[in-house]
């Protein structure tokens, strides 16, 4: 029986469930719109009651996703301003060094993998990829939702450009999440078959030793952690 540490707060776990659900709805209602000419897309559009329904769901989910993103960023800015944020998700010099070290380790040039703190460079990459992607899809999505409003201030070409950006960014997000998540949260030999920590909030001490040794060392200085 291994000891567990708390890795994620309830707020973080709820946010993950929400973003996961909205991401699924947005992908499922968005990709058939991008590939509407394909037989599978037509089949799915008909199944859900037509393009107007799909658009309605996509916009409703998009607005919810915008609200969630706004809430997340406001909370983040608030805690940074209050000095309560450890800024552990912010990329730094060490992440680049880690990435290079891991690459050399994978290639067999060195024997020691990099030692990570709370978030490794892959997790930071995914987080910032999601935040930047969210900014792109939300802003372009709103432009597509309110073209009359936006063309009062910007040239009309912004609308088709937003459409190209929105659909491509959505596709990229879909592919990255599929590949990266399946890899990081499922296939990764450290967590295979399924990394539950984002749902339970808990992580085993054994995994902490293995995946986040620097964070564990820090934690040990400020609290008692009993090694089994």
């Amino acid at each position: 029986m291994s000891t567990y540490l708390t890795r994620f707060t309830l707020r973080q776990r709820v946010e993950h469930v929400l973003v996961m659900s909205l991401f699924i709805v947005l992908s499922v209602t968005g990709l058939p719109q991008k590939y509407f000419d394909a037989a599978w897309a037509r089949w799915f559009i008909d199944l859900t009651g037509g393009i107007d329904h799909i658009r309605w769901f996509h916009r409703a989910a998009g607005l919810s996703f915008s609200a969630l993103t706004a809430w997340h960023l406001m909370f983040a800015i608030g805690s940074i301003a209050a000095g309560r944020s450890p800024l552990s998700i912010v990329p730094n010099r060490k992440d680049f060094d880690d990435a290079i070290q891991m690459m050399r380790y994978y290639l067999g040039r060195i024997d020691q993998p990099a030692q990570f703190d709370r978030y490794d460079y892959r997790q930071k990459f995914e987080y910032w990829g999601l935040v930047l992607g969210a900014v792109v899809v939300i802003s372009t999505g709103l432009i597509l939702y309110f073209p009359i409003l936006f063309t009062r201030f910007f040239p009309g070409e912004l609308i088709p450009a937003a459409k190209v950006a929105h659909s491509n960014e959505g596709l990229m997000a879909f592919l990255v999440v599929i590949l990266w998540h399946i890899y990081n949260a499922h296939l990764n030999p450290d967590v295979f078959p399924f990394d539950r920590s984002i749902f339970t909030g808990k992580i085993s001490l054994e995994r902490m030793h293995h995946e986040h040794p620097l964070e564990l060392a820090r934690l040990k200085q400020i609290q008692d952690i009993e090694e089994p």
């Binding site: 073209p147 063309t151 009062r152 070409e157 609308i159 088709p160 190209v164 491509n168 592919l175």
Partner: protein, 345 residues
């Protein structure tokens, strides 16, 4: 004297072929109906001439194929029984079904037409076969092609006047390339302007000519108009609604909503709705509150390129590079990791 002439005419119009029994009966009927003064007065006060001009009949498409009794089947006794018709129109309507004995396919098609719908509502003025084709003087309808549109103009004069000034109508007399009435509305199963199933297929209809490369090259027109339309928001929606069957057409711009219907103009002529100066007004018909920049959102049937729409082209190029780069990078990272795990064991 008359019958001699008739016989001569019959023989001369059918060299090498003797008059059949059917066409021979024309002779017998014309013994009476060859009289110019033969007429009947109807209760409505209208007079119906019963005279048939032999030359006209022989000159018609039926002239040497069928005889009088093939259409006038109920005329079995001489003198004929009294007819119950009160008006001229009643008489014509009663004969409506005669054509179907031979022209069954076209007759069946008319049952789907807007004209038949009017007839079924009890509108006696709705056109029947003979109103467009004529009766004793039936001619091949496509000779010349302009004849078709002129026939429609007999009733639809207002529309025809507008059409005549359009980019299509102006060239109707000069060329067979431009569409006349029936090229869009069809001939026997004539679609009415409020027929939703027909409206929904508008892009398909226009595409019939505007994607025809040799035809469009002749006039220096692009064949990418349909494809660029479908690539954009309006066309995508329209193509997904094309197979709908409801009576309501979904609110989305079809070709005719921007370019006009009977008044379709060249895109660069002063009256054109899609001319830059008029475009805001055209967009605002659906997009209430659209301002000067709004029409720029539509790429005017152009594919994005550095010249036309550089921003759109640039964004597309950016993702065309970024997506493969990103995905291959991630896959490489994954493969390297797995490879190391395998080696470590």
């Amino acid at each position: 004297m008359l019958s001699t002439l008739l016989l001569l005419l019959t023989l001369s119009s059918q060299p090498g072929q003797s008059a059949t029994g059917k066409t021979a009966d024309v002779e017998a009927c014309l013994a009476c109906h060859g009289d110019r003064g033969l007429a009947v007065k109807l209760p409505s006060g209208e007079t119906r001439s019963l005279y048939v001009d032999l030359a006209t009949y022989r000159g018609s498409v039926h002239g040497n194929k069928i005889g009088c009794a093939d259409c006038h089947q109920d005329m079995t006794s001489v003198p004929h029984e009294a007819r119950p018709f009160k008006t001229l129109r009643e008489f014509t309507v009663a004969y409506y079904e005669q054509c179907k004995r031979c022209h069954f396919d076209n007759y069946t098609k008319t049952l789907d037409s807007v004209h038949y719908q009017a007839l079924a509502r009890g509108d006696r003025t709705a056109p029947l076969c003979v109103d467009c084709h004529g009766a004793h003087d039936v001619k091949s309808p496509q000779k010349p092609k302009t004849q078709v549109s002129r026939t429609c103009a007999k009733c639809h004069e207002g529309v025809f006047t507008v059409y005549n000034k359009s980019v299509h109508g102006r060239f109707l007399e000069k060329s067979d390339d431009v569409p006349g009435c029936t090229d869009c509305h069809r001939s026997h199963d004539v679609a009415g302007p409020r027929d939703a199933n027909w409206q929904r297929r508008t892009p398909e209809l226009c595409r019939g000519c505007h994607e025809n490369k040799p035809l469009m090259e002749k006039y220096g027109l692009s064949t990418a108009v349909a494809q660029t339309y479908v690539a954009d928001f309006h066309g995508m929606t329209a193509s997904l609604h094309e197979t709908d069957t409801g009576r309501e057409v979904s609110v989305v711009a079809l070709c005719t909503d921007c370019h006009g219907v009977h008044d379709i103009a060249k895109v660069n002529e002063p009256g054109s709705r899609v001319l830059r100066a008029n475009l805001v007004k055209t967009c605002a018909r659906c997009h209430t509150g659209a301002t000067e920049n709004f029409p720029g959102a539509w790429m005017s049937h152009y594919e994005p390129s550095w010249k036309k729409a550089p921003l759109v082209y640039g964004v597309q190029l950016f993702y065309n590079i970024l997506i493969p780069f990103m995905i291959s990078g991630l896959v490489l990272q994954m493969l390297l990791h797995f490879w190391r795990v395998v080696v470590n064991r």
